[in-house]
């Protein structure tokens, strides 16, 4: 078993992802299986191989940094679970 329950709890914390006890147990086994399977990559020597993050060559696309009006602010804010005067409300961050 390459992944422990402690690993699962640590990773869930990094991802801010709440998990039930049952899910923690399930994922401990499943992540182990999946990551063990992925170890087959180690059969390949990739010492001199460059990584590919995009298959098609990409370049930065720049434009002038200028303010343009956003027509549908209301529609955007309307999706917020809790809002006040064009702002999103969240629970208290500091005491």
């Amino acid at each position: 078993m390459s992944v422990t329950r402690q690993d699962v709890e640590h990773v869930a914390k990094l991802a801010r992802l709440g998990l039930t006890d049952k899910e923690k147990e399930l994922f401990t086994g499943q992540l182990s299986n999946i990551l063990d399977y992925a170890k087959n990559l180690n059969k390949l020597d990739t010492k001199d191989v460059p990584p590919t993050s995009h298959a098609i060559p990409m370049k930065n696309v720049l434009r002038e940094d200028k303010v343009i009006p956003c027509a549908n602010t209301q529609d955007i804010v309307a999706n917020g679970p809790e809002t006040e005067e064009n702002m999103f409300k969240v629970p208290k961050i500091m005491e």
């Binding site: 991802a15 992802l17 990551l35 696309v61 999103f88």
Partner: protein, 483 residues
Amino acid sequence: MNNKTCHELNTLLKEKKLSSVELTEAVLAQIDKVEGKIQAYVTVTKEEALKQARAADERIKNNENVTPLTGIPIAVKDNMCTKGILTTCSSKILNNYLPPYDATIVTKLKEAGAVIVGKTNLDEFAMGSSTENSGIHPTHNPWNIETVPGGSSGGSAAAVAASECIMATGSDTGGSIRQPAAFCGVVGLKPTYGRVSRYGLVAFASSLDQIGPLTKDVTDTAIMLQAMAGHDKLDSTSVDLPVPDYKKALVDDVKGMKIGVIKELLGEGISEEVKASIKEAIKKYEELGAKIIEVSLPSFEYAVSTYYLIAPAEASSNLARYDGVKFGHRSKEAKDLISMYYQTREEGFGQEVKRRIMIGTYALSAGYYDAYYLKALKVRTLIKQDFEKAFQKCDVLISPTAPSVAFKAGEKSEDPLSMYLSDIATIPINLAGLPAISLPCGFSSNLPIGLQIIGRAFDEETILRAAFAFEQNTEWHKQKPVI
């Protein structure tokens, strides 16, 4: 009439033998009739569709900018934004999301005069191969409702196969257009990465995602791709290249075409009936005068591992935005900001999405980044190089789209790794960014089998030509499910 293709219906509409309102009503009636069994849709937009159909009829009457799509009822996968219309990604975390804008492809289809009849079901956030991971409901395969329609664009593929729309959009990150197309006996094309704008497509794995058409035949695929393709300044990864006239690629002639057969995808792990159908397809191409070459892509053995590190890594980052702040579900249990994040995500995400966030976060975390994520990016280079070598001597490559016909619902849902392995033939193409099409090439136990044709980057024309020639000389695409 709703079982006809877009190009057949376009003729009837232009000759005024049929109105878009009549056609749209027929599609809506079919939805009413079969949706209880198929469950292809998340949302049906009846009123809006009829309004668009009336506008299309007006356009045809005045002969004003009539395109091949004008008045044609289409469905949009529910991970593409539609302004003011529910866009859920089949996730509880977005179950009330009303996008403030249209995805670029939605804008383009609307401008072409297409009638949007609804939003189709998917595996939550497009993560899955069976549409069983939908947080709304599972979709069933029209050929046999006990089997899955494939995924993640299972709703779109099933809707096309069941004539609940004429054509549909799908998105493909590891096979999510092609595999459901194969399982449902329709045509599905994943364009080259960058060919179609992703603006307004809810991101899953941004370096792999691509939007494409699901249709009843190859001609319709060419028509729909034409309407979708092109550079978009709102998507910095869309490529600024001229868009060819895809209908010109529909030539029934493959004489001298060099077709590579991928050895690794006709061996272990591929079912006997699928292998037999693909061998028949190879024979057909030989009869038609193509030159068949066996090619080996040894890195394919590593594609599933590579994909299931890269895609979840990108997903874990993309899905960080679902935190209960700006849109979607927010937990009512939360006492403070941090617990709001935890609770919202626990309640809103389904199990497969959580699993992928976990894999991705693990692969990117300190101490494991080099061993998993970086390693996968390097193997991605090897996969891409294998394709480059193969395309030095071939014009297109062929393989099965999926290792088997549609499997039974529930059969793989408890074992994620076996589900992941069902993507073996489609995943390498996304890793290399190439275009590929799936089209019907046979049946086993009354379930369709798909042939995959892969092309060079930005050479959708050659795969359309190869697919068209096959279709013109076979009858598979004419078979329809009895629902």
